[in-house]
Symmetry: C2
Subunit: 148 residues, 2 copies
DNA sequence: ATGGTTGCAAATTGTTTGCACAGTA
DNA sequence: TACTGTGCAAACAATTTGCAACCAT
């Protein structure tokens, strides 16, 4: 259902406009909120409005180029996710790096759920500290602002 | 950490006022949003304001009498949860009934998480249809409005 | 030309907070 | 009496939407 996209097609849906190209270029390699992305975008081109970023993120998510991976405080967290298939995300609370993790629910929780309860969907997100951020000597790890 | 409370102490913290007693009485035996609760409360006593309900829910949650069990659309879902220990919730999308389910994460996902990633917390909520709502002949099952 | 895209501002929604007053302990 | 709780309205933050001008196709 999700297509692997090349860097030439930022998000295989909709038109390619300078704004969207700029927004796609500003997408970091970690989890981020739309607000954070808008801030980066604003540094590249102050004329691009917040609403445009929101709409672009929606389009990117619709096409599968971006995935909603969780939420920090009151805002949604997004990240690039080229992985296919059903899986979950492990988000480092220090630097925002996102790792994939297999789904333990299908086998365990479904069976563990109350008898008669048919699980139709579930949400699972792991929060923690990644290996890089755990290394004491690694102070240069935390790229920019951290989610949560 | 969580105390088992008797029905005499709606939420073992703070004062007992007519409003809070009313709000506690309006808490349904299923998952609900603060908005839904406020509506029920309003039927019992139209003079009670929305802010008061929010503050009461916050107090109830603080004392452990209520637990945040998930979220529907943009709003938080709460429910009474007397269970102790670490566990998760299975919420019926038809009637809102909440069931407890053991946590499959500690054992599975942590081990499955990328090496070096130290999981500090996680969120897991199962959505589905409960046994009662699955029974075709059971139309009287869905109590009132349903979450989600 | 045609319909998706953008900016801006205004509107929504869920939730919180400031303040003066009322009521519990 | 000393606070905590209440009501109401205003404040807030995240996100969405209406609309007119624009521009990629």
């Amino acid at each position: 259902m999700r297509t692997i996209l090349t860097s030439d097609e930022p998000y295989g849906a909709g038109r390619s406009t300078p704004q969207r190209r700029c927004i796609a270029a500003a997408v970091p390699d970690r989890a981020f909120t739309v607000g954070e992305l808008a801030e980066s975008v604003s540094r590249l081109d102050p004329a691009i409005g917040l609403a445009t970023v929101y709409r672009a993120v929606a389009a990117m998510e619709r096409s599968g180029w971006l995935t909603r991976v969780g939420e920090a405080d009151g805002s949604a967290l997004y990240a690039r996710c080229t992985e296919g298939g059903h899986h979950h995300h492990a988000i480092c609370t220090e630097c925002g790096r996102v790792a994939h993790t297999p789904c333990p629910v299908a086998s365990e929780a479904s069976a563990a759920a109350p008898s008669g309860f048919r699980v139709t969907s579930h949400d699972l997100t792991l929060y923690g500290v990644c290996e890089t951020c755990a290394s004491p000597a690694d102070s240069a790890a935390s790229a920019s602002g951290d989610p949560r």
